[in-house]
């Protein structure tokens, strides 16, 4: 913990990003924590907005103790704002309008990203740029680097097996577009990630490649500090709550994997069923050609089966395009979450090791050295961020799956309704009394 007394954060007001020190900044001063508005020399580089430096919508001074742990209380405040649907939203991002670009070296798809915002971080109220998948990939990597204590949403799978899936088919592009849109919206909804400088650049820069080249400069202090926590430290035991999260994620990923396999199997069986139906229906037509009085009824049955086949084809397409990708995304999500958990373990392990080392050195009195405190801050910040993100993740997971599964049920209901209509409509045809020829 910092040596200074907890102080309230100064009223921040419109401010350049570059002026705000991050609580985890590796400064030699013990007063690094707190809203010190004079930038120390090594903080001139732009950094990402830390939890403490958030501009509150009403511009007021946040009450409450200004310690690293208070970042989560800030978060809570903001989360309340999130719940008021759209009213206090000040950032809207959409992904649409996929276009194919054919160049000499390669062919690829770009998507239009439209941003509307009243935030001061954006110079203009509206932006429209074009990005391709590898730009999204770059963004995600940057976010992971610069915000290692947070859960970064997943991207749709990078590689597709050529020949099996047509990368340029309408269905594939649309599926990807939806996933990319979801990716950006998740970041938009995140109170910390949405203020990330890389995100801003992604949304606004005319030439992203130029920015990519100077990428190193945008790495935040947090990123730096956590990045330096490399292996070598072994965690003795995960705290209960994080162990629980870890176990949950393991089982969750397992169950999702099973559901993915079941869903794929169902689609496979349905396609095989469809193949047989496509042969079945026409046989009634063939029969109809032999008959007199029965010709119309048999032809009717043939047409009916044809309609059911079409309905079934639509069902399998929907499930393939809408259901499976979301499932896969969540599996990727939980995988990346598990790595964040491991990083957290690393930070804790370093702290505990350093603490232990100090305890063994009999020279020091109860005074705790600065770098151990730094480790402790780091760890507690990480824990707070992670816990907050987990809670947020659990909520949106619940919404997402509710929607996903209800969607699955809906598609099946629609399929049966189409078939029902087809069969009910031929009953009168079958019952028709033919007049004597």
């Amino acid at each position: 913990m910092s040596g200074g007394p907890p102080k309230a954060l100064p009223s921040t007001g419109p401010h350049s990003l570059r002026d705000m020190p991050h609580p985890l900044a590796g400064s030699s001063s013990e007063e690094a924590v707190g809203g010190d508005s004079t930038p120390s020399p090594d903080l001139l580089t732009a950094r990402s907005f830390g939890d403490k430096d958030l501009i509150l919508p009403n511009g007021g001074t946040p009450a409450g103790p200004a310690s690293p742990a208070s970042s989560s209380s800030l978060l809570n405040r903001l989360q309340l704002d999130d719940d008021i649907d759209g009213e206090t939203r000040d950032l809207f991002v959409t992904v649409d309008d996929p276009k194919k670009h054919v160049c000499t070296m390669e062919t690829y798809i770009t998507y239009r990203i439209t941003t509307k915002s009243t935030r001061v971080e954006f110079d203009l109220p509206e932006y429209s740029v074009r990005r391709r998948y590898q730009d999204f990939d770059w963004l995600r990597n940057k976010l992971e680097e610069s915000q290692p204590t947070h859960l970064i949403p997943p991207l749709p799978e990078k590689f597709v097996v050529k020949g099996v899936v047509d990368r340029f088919s309408e269905e594939f592009v649309e599926t990807r577009r939806k996933a990319l849109d979801k990716f950006l919206k998740r970041i938009t909804d995140h109170p910390v990630l949405s203020f990330n400088e890389h995100f801003n650049v992604f949304l606004t820069a005319k030439d992203l490649n130029a920015h990519k080249k100077q990428g190193m400069a945008l790495l935040t202090r947090v990123g730096e500090s956590v990045k330096h926590v490399t292996g070598g430290y072994k965690l003795r035991s995960r705290p209960l709550e994080f162990a629980a999260i870890g176990e949950y994620l393991d089982t969750f990923a397992l169950k999702l994997g099973t559901i993915d396999r079941i869903a794929q199997r169902i689609i496979k069986e349905e396609i095989e069923y469809l193949v047989e139906l496509r042969e079945y229906g026409p046989v009634y037509s063939t029969w109809s050609a032999l008959e007199g009085e029965l010709a119309e009824p048999l032809e009717g049955v043939s047409a009916c089966i044809g309609n059911c086949s079409t309905a079934l084809e639509e069902l399998t397409e929907d499930m393939t395009e809408d259901f499976l990708p979301v499932l896969r995304e969540y599996i990727l999500y939980s995988d990346s979450m598990k790595s964040v958990l491991k990083k957290r373990d690393q930070v804790q392990a370093e702290y505990e090791a350093k603490l232990e080392a100090v305890a063994l050195r009999k020279e020091e009195r109860p005074k705790v050295p600065a770098d151990v405190e730094k480790c402790q801050d780091r760890m507690e910040c990480f824990n707070a961020d992670l816990k907050a993100d987990m809670e947020r993740w659990q909520n949106s997971k619940r919404q997402d799956f509710r929607q996903l599964l209800m969607g699955m049920a809906d598609k099946n209901i629609q399929y049966y309704e189409k078939c029902l209509m087809a069969w009910e409509s031929i009953i009168p045809l079958l019952q028709e009394k033919q007049e004597a020829k």
Partner: protein
């Protein structure tokens, strides 16, 4: 057959006619809807003739099946199924019935009955028996003749066969049929004593006739073509239907896996748990619903199979016609050649080759007395031939008339039955869709509560 078991109410409508196979055969037959009347509701006609064995309206049912063991003709032990046939006579209009006969028969005896009917009523489209061995099965269905589901479906098929025979205006009056239902012991001997096996046309003869006949009635040629096509298309339909059933079974059953995984997943969830768990239950219900659905569909398949086998019966009538026609053509040809021979002998000119003529040339002329004798013999033969030809022609015409009447009756029956079958199939599909909507709606509600 709409659904199993068929309506046991089968009042016999005795029509005033004689079975053609009997020595005192009549010539006219009554056709049309009223002869089919035994299938519809309606008061029984009280007309009786001396060959009407059914003095009252009757109900026939094959009510039970039982596994038996016995010794066969080679004195080896065998297992077979016996079926209980019960005949009830309906005493009053209000349907009070009294059990008049009850006996056990096995499948081979049904076959014997049918073979007898085929021989004695060649102009009738004889109702078929249910299949001897299970065919067109989809994987879950057993091909084993002893399988209880197969036995059950066969029981229904045999009952259907008896009802069809009993409601046929001509076949119902047959004595052997009557004895089949009433005389348990000794029936086999009685049938065999009719010597019907000897009267049967050989397949070889029939095949020969089919190829060589010159002038068959066009309608029969068309009918034969139709029955070939019908057989082909229904076989194809049944084969594909079996594959469709197989696939549908797979789709439903895999959904059952959702039940288990949702349950396991719900264990680690707090708010989502209940919704997932109950949704999983609905997936189990969905998966298990397919068994009943497909069982019902087997009845539809059986209805199609009956008409698949009926196609064979139609062909049999056509074959008989071809045989008779060929016979007629051969007799006419024979007569013509004899006439020619006679003429040649009388005029002394030899236009046609004859062995006698040849040998006469080689070994010397015959005497005028010899020639006279030969002419006389030929003239007798020609006379006989002309009589035979006349009666063969008559028989042929009778056959065509009566067969065509029964074929018309059959066509009406076929159109009616198959329409009913298609309607019941559509109803089954509608029921399946409604169940599907119900289950998924329930599941959706559970998901909404997650």
């Amino acid at each position: 057959m709409e659904q199993a078991p068929p309506d046991p109410e089968r009042r016999l409508q005795p029509a005033p006619l004689e079975p053609l196979g009997h020595p005192d055969a009549g010539v006219e037959s009554v056709v049309g809807e009223e002869a089919e009347g035994a299938r519809d509701e309606g008061p029984g006609d009280g007309t009786m003739t001396e060959n009407n064995f059914w003095l009252k309206k009757i109900e026939i049912s094959v009510s039970e099946a039982e596994k038996r063991t016995g010794r066969n003709a080679m004195n080896m032990q065998e297992t077979y199924t016996a079926y209980l046939i019960e005949t009830r006579s309906v005493e009053h209009i209000d349907g009070q019935s009294v059990l008049t006969d009850s006996l056990w028969r096995r499948y081979s005896e049904f076959e014997l009955l049918r073979n007898y009917l085929l021989v004695y009523y060649p102009h009738i489209v004889v109702p078929p028996l249910p299949e001897k061995r299970a065919e067109f099965v989809w994987h879950k269905l057993s091909a084993d003749n002893m399988d209880p589901d197969f036995v059950e479906r066969r029981r229904i098929g045999l009952e259907n066969f008896l009802l069809r025979v009993a409601s046929h205006p001509i076949l119902c009056r047959d004595k052997i049929f009557y004895l089949f239902l009433t005389q348990e012991g000794n029936w086999k001997e009685t049938v065999n004593e009719t010597g019907f096996q000897l009267k049967a046309d050989s397949r070889l003869k029939a095949l020969n006739a089919t190829f060589r006949v010159k002038n068959p009635d066009k309608r029969f040629t068309e009918l034969k073509h139709y029955s070939d096509e019908l057989q082909s298309v229904i076989s194809h339909l049944l084969r594909v239907r079996a594959r469709v059933a197989d696939r549908l079974y797979g789709v439903y059953k895999v959904h059952g896996n959702y039940g288990r995984v949702f349950s396991e997943w719900s264990a680690i969830e707090k708010e989502m748990g209940d919704g997932l768990q109950s949704a999983g239950h609905h997936m189990d219900v969905y998966a298990s619903s397919i068994d009943d659905i497909l069982e019902d569909e087997e009845h539809y398949a059986d209805q199609l199979k009956e008409y698949l086998f009926y196609a064979e019966a139609l062909r049999a009538v056509c074959r008989k016609h071809e045989l008779m026609q060929y016979d007629l053509e051969m007799a006419a040809q024979d007569l013509a050649s004899k006439k020619q021979q006679c003429e040649e002998l009388a005029t002394g000119t030899v236009r046609t080759f004859s062995l006698k003529g040849m040998t006469t040339k080689l070994f010397g002329q015959e005497t005028p007395e010899q020639r006279e004798a030969r002419i006389k013999v030929l003239e007798e033969q020609i006379n006989e031939g002309e009589q035979q030809l006349k009666s063969k022609n008559q028989e042929g015409r009778e056959f065509v008339k009566n067969a065509w009447a029964d074929i018309e009756r059959f066509k009406e029956q076929k159109n009616h039955d198959l329409k009913e079958a298609l309607i019941s199939y559509a109803v089954m599909q509608i029921s399946m869709c409604k169940k599907g909507i119900q289950v998924w709606t329930n599941a959706k509600e559970c998901f909404s509560k997650m």
